[in-house]
């Protein structure tokens, strides 16, 4: 699809549609990144982000995508740490790789898209660990993991908890402090509704104590350098100014809508998508267990037997809608619909309607209507 008319509906689990106000803010001329105007912007944004993270801890802004913050979370703790890495999807696996790169790592692995067994985590923690890594919302599988239980276990065993909140913070309930999360991070191109390019990371006092004594830290993603600069209203290296202008605007929009209203809205969108695809006879990918739930920001659906993923994707794109496939081992097996960013109920309905039409054309449903009706009922609460 050639998007020269700029009308494509981006239903990816990031990047997401960006509100026009936020897009316009990107175009502001440069300012002095060491001056009072930038200081005000940075101070206010960090303060508002503390509200989004529901934390009293420092929130720092990194000039890099979510993976930059993910590396910062692990890389700043020093090279002598023992990790327990929880994996049930691609991003859990990435965290596992990072823990092995920077320390010694033991993994608790569940099949991608199935629940992590809390009992296994408990047992693993008994062998002694400095930190546990966990993905709150697995963008790769459409599954939300239970952080609260893991947080309680970590507190009991005095292990730090590192949480990937890339596709949850600001869109799914994720009270960082209440859950006892020590390091949490998100990316700009998800629930905050910004373009990609920035990531935000919170660091608890417990985590700072470890970071301060780390014998070696990365340079560009050095969290202490970021904190030191932030105290002066600066970033340690030149900030990606347009994204900071956009962040200011996106946080204003979030404030106007309200964090809880945003979370509710995403949950209604996701539920309507789940209900609709099931009404059309499709199957959701995640196998829920006692410590997991369907994601309210990204829905992963099994590709129906009579259809190839690429055919489905292209048929949707011809109709102006961009969806995502599965990643790595899930390639071809699932498709994913994100519902973050600047979306309306009408957008959600449109996606379902086009999907239903394609299913009809391919003989997967017999008639139009069941999907859109189901979606509409959830969206309108009737």
């Amino acid at each position: 699809m050639d998007n020269t008319t700029e009308t494509a509906l981006i239903m990816l689990p990031g990047p997401v549609p960006v509100a026009p106000q936020v897009l316009r803010a990107l175009s502001k001329p440069m300012i002095n990144h060491r001056g009072p105007e930038f200081r005000r912007l940075l101070d206010e944004s960090r303060e508002k982000l503390r509200g989004v993270f529901k934390t009293e801890s420092d929130v720092l802004i990194l000039n890099g995508s979510g993976t930059c913050a993910m590396e910062a979370a692990v890389g700043n703790l020093g090279t002598d740490k023992r990790y327990i890495a929880l994996e049930n999807g691609k991003f859990g696996e990435r965290l596992k790789s990072l823990t092995a790169l920077y320390g010694s790592s033991m993994a608790v692995i569940a099949d991608w898209g199935t629940s992590i067994e809390v009992e296994q985590v408990k047992q693993a923690l008994e062998t002694g660990a400095d930190a546990v890594t966990l993905v709150h919302n697995e963008t790769s599988t459409g599954m939300t993991n239970d952080v609260q239980q893991i947080g309680a276990l970590c507190r009991k065993r005095d292990a730090l908890l590192i949480m990937d909140g890339v596709s949850s913070i600001g869109g799914i309930q994720a009270p960082i402090d209440r859950w006892g999360v020590d390091i949490a991070f998100t990316g700009s191109q998800k629930c905050l509704g910004l373009p990609p390019g920035l990531s935000m990371i919170s660091v608890s006092d417990r985590a700072w104590d470890v970071i301060k004594t780390a014998e070696k830290r990365p340079y560009y993603a050095d969290l202490l350098a970021h904190r030191e600069a932030a105290e002066k209203g600066q970033t340690p290296y030149t900030p990606a100014m347009p994204l900071f202008f956009a962040l200011e605007e996106a946080l204003k929009l979030l404030e106007v809508e309200g964090l809880e209203a945003r979370i509710d809205r995403y949950s209604v969108y996701a539920e309507s998508i789940r209900t609709a695809v099931q009404a059309m006879g499709l199957e959701l990918f995640p196998k829920l267990g006692p410590s997991s739930a369907y994601s309210n920001t990204v829905t992963a659906i099994k590709v129906p037997p009579k259809l190839e993923f690429m055919a489905l994707k292209e048929a949707m794109e011809r109709r102006g809608i961009v969806i995502a496939g599965g990643q790595e081992r899930l390639k071809g097996h699932i498709f994913r619909i994100g519902n973050m960013g600047n979306l309306s109920k009408g957008d959600i309905l449109q996606v379902i309607e086009k999907l239903e039409l394609i299913l009809l054309e391919n003989g997967i449903v017999d008639a139009m209507g069941a999907g859109t009706l189901a979606a509409d009922c959830v969206l309108e609460g009737s």
Copy 2:
């Protein structure tokens, strides 16, 4: 200065004034970062950047500022390397820190703003080294170092040459291949006239041979991962889309102007600034030697005895012009005027005129006119 009217003239050595076409490109709606449209953009941009770097090597684009690329340049070579780090300014010092963080480092140090002695480098190389790090254009001191001689020494001794081209590539002659540079990098917010946020890095075959066998590489700035993704028209992690849209536009503008014309224009701007400030009795900061020259992208000037830097800076800002001070040990001693980005001859004249006015008000010059006349003569070639 509150820039609510967005008219400030940003004469910093980065960020720089960004052309309106480039600013507008930032506001384009998101596209699929794994689709053909992004692939075309990335392929074309990388190809054009090879021209800007004057290299046949791979040029990769990182989602991070110049320091991200600087860390990538050193961090990807493995942890067993012996470096010779050349330092005569803040960014040489930063490279020295990175070489010590990732390998073992020996430094050849000259006072900030003075020449590096090539003979010393030659002697240091005789002790054996895997790589030499050097800043082409020291943004912190307004001095350009001679890379060609160092490149020849490195080739003779089979050491890799890592060059910081952040404030030179695209604005000062820097033929990467001809000079035998193995890894060179630049940032978006300098000669390319973009906002900050991206960095570009070239890697020679010799350097790839080392990188491929490195026992450990950083994750976010993993150059092999970037190359692998680039071959598929992608970035390994979600790209900062608006900055890529802007890059496409900025490279078009550079193509229209022509690289050599851009380099000439910057050199006329810088010469006019140097000539003018000296005509007003001010002193340039760099002490030139046999292996250095004045920078054609940033001019560093000693703060005159009868004036405080902050008073000068604020007086300029009240008149709508943003200049930079000295960094770290040079704080208060020098001020710096960048001449990169979307600037016209009129902008340069305006800067000189305002500076002259402030010098007059402070009794540093007796009359107006000498500075602007000198600047005008150089600008108009008369």
